[in-house]
Subunit: 246 residues, 2 copies
DNA sequence: CGCCCCATTGAGACGGCTCAACTTGCGTGG
DNA sequence: CCACGCAAGTTGAGCCGTCTCAATGGGGCG
């Protein structure tokens, strides 16, 4: 581990790292910044110990303090309504930023849990707001990030409202594939970080329907499924399925 | 009309108005600002002629330039995917701000159309970004607005993913009711600005199901329906229906 | 080894969709 | 002024995709 450019264990047992050393710097926040500004950002970022699978980063109702960038692993966010009904609202992969939900009301609006051992960079929002005032490109970048979140949430509304089970699954798989590409990982082979339960909950389907759909796509050769291991064999056909209506 | 505090026709035939005179100032942007800052905001806001029912404010793909605050009337936003499938993504009432979808990619991601004769305040985003740099509370307010949009989109995902037809309709009616209250209008009597078609599209239902659901709620006395005129008779029971699962 | 959790698969039920007919309100034009 | 067409909404009957319920299989871990 010693000498690894992105993660050096420091004497406190915590992770020491800097944005400029991070291998995600080309797709995370630093992309908006020149070298001096990265340093300023670096100074406010807190990198804590990894969180374990199933451990919560924060819960709905807790006071909103920070945004988080995923550094490794994967994260799930979900709502719980008054009756205990849960809705998974998103999956977050390395380089992606979460926590915007809390800005509106000074307390978090959703729950955030690790799907596997993960590490995050915590950015205290009040200090971030000071920083964005003095770094216009950083302010612009945060507006853009939030704008993109809104756009993708709207796409999700279309998916939930208009597509059938195959279309929903295909849409999710291609989204994960694209986000893997951004990280220079294979767009065709991946290990799903989330359970069938999470997928079903996210897509508005039961776990049985998710399972049946995976089986059918597997049988037709469009994808190969082995538990959470997925290979996309026919990208084009999967893309066509995306547009299937219910 | 002359002397009306919020709208005076000026010599060019355009609407002259100021934020400090606006009767929406307690729920629109000025709420975040002190008197001097309101003036600065005022200077960048463009108030154009009203847009007619069915007229587009902007369309998907057009370059992103501005955010808009609804001053009167009502506005619908919708996506169109490659196959022409439409998804209504939101309804906007006076005092509400729209256009965040375009920030992420420098071109608008959705279409925006007036549901009735409406007027909006246009806020050029580049000038707004300059302004937010010098007015911290304004920057904070915009982060909050976008955070709230994200929160409400996530609630919508829960609605689309988990609720049955009655639950969806009830949720929409109560949302409109609450937003009417904010404007000091009756929470129980309203005229829907949108068609059954729009409601169905927004909620992921067919127009027939929307119609049948309205009829049923009417028959049970929970609401009274006469075309687009709605009276909520039993707020509590409507609220219970919100939590009905599919 | 045995337990438990997750996933798969089958059979039947049901909510919302499709298709179709009819009503109502409104604007147009004879 | 009424006839007509059109768009929006309502209502009914039958169908279909997904859910529910239930049984079974498999992998990880104590």
């Amino acid at each position: 581990m010693a000498g690894s450019p992105q993660q050096n264990a420091c004497s406190h047992g915590f992770i020491k790292a800097t944005c400029s050393d991070c291998n995600l710097k080309t797709l995370c926040l630093p992309i908006a910044l020149d070298i001096r500004d990265i340093d300023k950002l670096d100074k406010i970022i807190q990198r804590s110990r990894p969180i374990q699978s199933g451990e919560h980063l924060y819960r709905s109702g807790e006071p909103f303090k920070s945004l988080y960038a995923v550094r490794s692993g994967s994260i799930k966010t979900y709502l719980v309504d008054e009756d205990g009904v849960e809705q998974v609202t998103g999956f977050y992969l390395p380089g992606e930023v979460l926590g915007f939900d809390g800005i509106g009301s000074s307390e978090h609006g959703c729950n955030v849990v690790a799907l596997e051992t993960s590490s995050v960079c915590e950015m205290p929002f009040d200090r971030l707001e000071e920083l964005t005032l003095s770094i216009p490109t950083l302010q612009h970048h945060f507006f853009q990030l939030m704008g993109k979140q809104i756009e993708s949430d709207h796409q999700m509304m279309l998916t939930l409202s208009k597509k059938n089970a195959e279309g929903r699954i295909a849409t999710l798989l291609l989204s994960l594939s694209r986000r893997n590409s951004r990280r220079n990982l294979s767009p065709n082979a991946m290990r799903l970080p989330m359970s069938r339960m999470d997928i079903g909950n996210f897509l508005g389907l039961t776990i049985e329907t998710v399972s049946r759909t995976f089986s059918r796509l597997n049988k037709e050769g469009i994808i190969s499924v082995e538990g959470r291991e997925i290979v996309i064999n026919e990208h084009d056909r999967l893309n066509e399925l995306c547009h299937q209506l219910s």
